[in-house]
Amino acid sequence: MAFNEFLGCEQPAYTRPIAGGLGQVEEVYPASQGGGELRLWGEVEVRQGDEVLFTARNKIVSQGLLHAIIGITRNHATLGGASTYNPTARVFNINDLTRSWIYVGTGTGATTEGMTDLVTPVTTKPDATSTDQDSPVAGTYRLKFIATWNSGSLGAVAVEEIGVYGHLFTTIDSTASTNGRLFARLSTTDSEFTGFTVNTAAPLTIEYRVVATFA
């Protein structure tokens, strides 16, 4: 019986080097229902000839963390060379609702890792979107994607789920990106928020933040 089965885990364990463990390994269990928090780590295997000298964890430095958070949010199309970029061709865009948006929805049910859409989206796109990025504290980077619906743009919808959609690279080892792919979801079923009814007399603003820091 596999160790994860012994523990009653649904997912197979992933074995990785312990940080600072001089060759010791540990098993981690990916959450089966998607992640409220992501882990990122790096590890190396060093081989000399056919001999594996060691496998070890690294430490990611600030530049690596920053690159990750920027890579998530920014796409660029080359306009004629490696040094020329199109700053509007981003993963989360400013007022380009063909590429990225936020939806609210009325559907229930837990978020699963393989979800590609809300259960019951209200397909009224925001009236405006914007992005921002900052470093709120040392060693932490944050991306903001802000969507605003004007007063009355949405009906008095009873919101049970929220989905964030971006221009994403979603196929392993492919450089083809796709408009409007679900990046993340939150739901009342997962106790992530309490259902609410849209007040049609006021704007609705949803600010989504992706935060990267060291665990």
Partner: protein, 201 residues
């Protein structure tokens, strides 16, 4: 000197508005946390909440860390056989890795003879890429190795779209007890395979 520890208040996952405070470690950033949260404002309604990132999001992140648009030159963040943009260095220097480091302490600036990149999905909810560097036999002298650095074509300015060639992405060192020092065997190739993995915590 390491930076002072800082704390962050964020919504607890599935916490219906409850907050939790986490501390960014002073040192020990061998694992990265990533999470998403929303702030909803609608008249008198206002709340913050954590989300769950789904599989598409996870795949996108791992892709974006290592590669970019087909029209971009070069295409990858970590390149196959293009040591102008990305490479691995070994080094002789000691000392703990600091969050702000952007180079090895004492690098041996002999680039690998070849590099290669692969991306894989080894299990449900787990994605990784491998960046492998190979030095031919004799390409490196019989040096004592105390540190290893991974260098890529990275976006390292939070407000700038221009990437930088050969920016250090990660380091490991004997000082942090991440590996035991070894001496290069000049009669055999040296291969270093770096695997960056992303999964749900």
């Amino acid at each position: 000197m390491n930076q002072a520890p800082t704390t962050i208040t964020r919504p607890a996952s599935g916490g219906l508005g409850a907050l939790e405070t986490i501390q960014v470690p002073e040192a020990g950033f061998s694992e990265v946390r990533g999470w998403g949260e929303v702030k909803v404002t609608n008249g008198d309604t206002e709340f913050r909440a954590r989300n769950k990132v789904v599989g598409n999001g996870l795949k996108h992140i791992i892709n974006m860390i290592h590669q970019w648009d087909t029209s971009a030159v070069p295409q990858g963040r970590f390149q196959t056989n293009d040591p102008t943009y990305s490479w691995i260095y070994v080094g002789r220097g000691t000392g703990a890795t600091l969050e702000s480091m952007n180079g090895l302490v004492d690098p041996i600036t002999t680039k690998p003879n070849s590099t290669s990149v692969t991306v894989s999905n080894p299990g449900a909810g787990v994605y990784n890429f491998k960046f492998t560097a190979v030095w031919n036999s004799g390409a490196l002298a019989a040096e004592d190795i105390e540190e290893i650095g991974i260098f890529g074509y990275l976006y390292t300015d939070i407000n700038d779209l221009a990437p930088t060639a050969g920016a250090m992405y990660a380091r490991l060192s004997t000082t942090d007890t991440e590996f035991t020092a070894f001496t290069i065997n000049t009669s055999a190739p040296l291969t270093i395979e770096y695997t960056f993995t992303l999964t749900f915590a």
